[in-house]
């Protein structure tokens, strides 16, 4: 599979502030990558560099295997967090601009998208709510049947039904071979639509993994001891352990890999009980961004 979106060691500094710090990421054909991170983690700056709107301080970027040029945008769609529309133009007029600008513009597809988002083409942009503006931006983006999609919070302001539509549009595009990179604050969306997940924190990429591998690997092992918790010895420094905490007679260990092996080693310390807890993506995300490691 070819990587349609590729970032290698991307760094972006503003003065002494490093907004994006040595980030490498690839999204393959037919794949959807969900980018998570707290506000200010560097997600939007990463997108801006990717699109050539900001000049990287270091690293390389390739879209469909080539550097970004005006021609890149023939088959690339970008939906910014706040849709940029012409206030005095109607939705239909925005579509007309797209028809004239993009040779891949698909009028039938655009009509389907308008209906999907319940948009009235005669309405002027200045009279649209935030959610409707997002819907227009999405309609425009998907009307050119792009090969590469970069979506910054693509469901902001949308109601739950239309949020689900956005996920289905991404899924449909990926099933037809597009590469999709999207950021979201809603972990559940990433969990459904994405096959890989990237988590940024303070400019750094702290998780970059297939979603199934991530969920299979990360577990919490909880052991309750009858007396005081024994010394866990060299396990404390084990790189497969993300965190270990003790509350009363309970030892909780967060693992990244090999939870069975680690559980067995804790079992050898003779706890009264031990159990392994599966983590959902939200818990994995919270663990990743709240920890001081990495």
């Amino acid at each position: 599979m070819a990587a349609l979106i590729s970032l290698k060691r991307l760094t972006k500094r503003y003065g002494s502030f490093t907004a994006v710090d040595d980030v490498s990421l690839e999204v393959e054909e037919g794949s959807i990558c969900g980018l998570l991170g707290p506000n200010g983690a560097g997600k939007t700056t990463t997108f801006k560099c990717l699109l050539g709107f900001a000049k990287p301080s270091g690293g390389t970027i390739a879209i469909e295997g080539a550097p970004v040029t005006p021609a890149t945008f023939e088959s690339l769609a970008y939906v910014p967090e706040r849709a940029t529309l012409y206030d005095n133009l109607t939705i239909a007029e925005h579509l007309e601009l797209y028809r004239r600008s993009y040779k891949n513009y698909d009028a039938a597809r655009a009509a389907e998208l308008l209906a999907l988002f319940d948009l009235d083409p005669g309405k002027r942009a200045k009279r649209l709510s935030k959610g409707m503006r997002t819907a227009v931006a999405l309609t425009l983006a998907f009307s050119i049947r792009p090969r590469v999609l970069i979506l910054d919070e693509p469901s902001s302001g949308l109601d739950p039904v239309h949020q689900r539509n956005v996920l289905d549009l991404m899924i449909d595009a990926a099933a037809n071979g597009a590469a999709v990179l999207f950021s979201s604050h809603q972990v559940g969306q990433v969990e459904r639509a994405a096959d890989s997940v990237a988590i940024m924190k303070r400019g750094k990429l702290i998780v970059n993994s297939g979603i199934d591998d991530l969920k299979t690997g990360e577990k919490i092992i909880e052991a309750v001891f009858a007396g005081p918790i024994p010394d866990i010895g060299d396990l404390a420094a084990d790189p497969r352990i993300l965190r270990a905490e003790q509350v009363g007679a309970t030892l909780r260990v967060a693992t990244r890999d090999d939870s069975d092996d680690i559980a067995q080693r804790i079992f050898a310390l003779h706890p009264k009980s031990i159990r392994t807890i599966d983590l959902n993506l939200e818990e994995i995300f919270m663990n990743a961004v709240s920890g001081d490691q990495h």
Binding site: G30, I171, R192, A193, D212, K215, L281
Partner: protein
């Protein structure tokens, strides 16, 4: 396909494993018949709103486990030779793991062997009686 599958993205169990288990269960119970065609990867992905690669992985693993046959251009079909047996074995596996987990939990909560046996017997009596009546 009459069987409706659901996935729970909030569960810690990866979606592909949830789907594999549900499809095997449906085959074992006969909800999906031998020879029946499964939806395309894209159709099932859109129906469930899950990633297409997740569905593709489910189909690959089901083919590997002998439950379905996929031929390029024609689609994926439940095998007519032994898919039910494979699926029944897989479902029995799920039952075994669930039962084992329950017993392990009972033990770790401090129940004695006799208490756990008693509990198991009572639970079996309750569920199997109503089914056989």
């Amino acid at each position: 396909m009459p069987a409706i599958f659901t996935v729970d993205p909030r569960s810690g169990v990866p979606l592909y494993l949830q789907l594999i288990e549900q499809i095997k269960r449906a085959v074992a119970l006969g909800t999906i018949a031998p020879g029946e065609q499964l939806p395309t990867v894209k159709a099932l992905a859109l129906e469930l709103t899950v990633n297409p690669n997740t569905v593709a992985r489910v189909y690959r693993e089901l083919e590997h486990d002998g439950v379905i046959d996929t031929s390029p251009g024609r689609g994926s079909f439940v095998r007519t030779d032994g898919a039910g047996i494979e699926a029944r074995r897989a479902v029995a596996d799920v039952a075994r793991v669930t039962f084992e987990g329950a017993v392990r939990e009972a033990k770790s909560l401090g129940l004695s062997r006799e208490e756990t046996q008693e509990l198991a017997a009572r639970t079996i009596a309750r569920w199997y009686e109503t089914e056989n009546d």
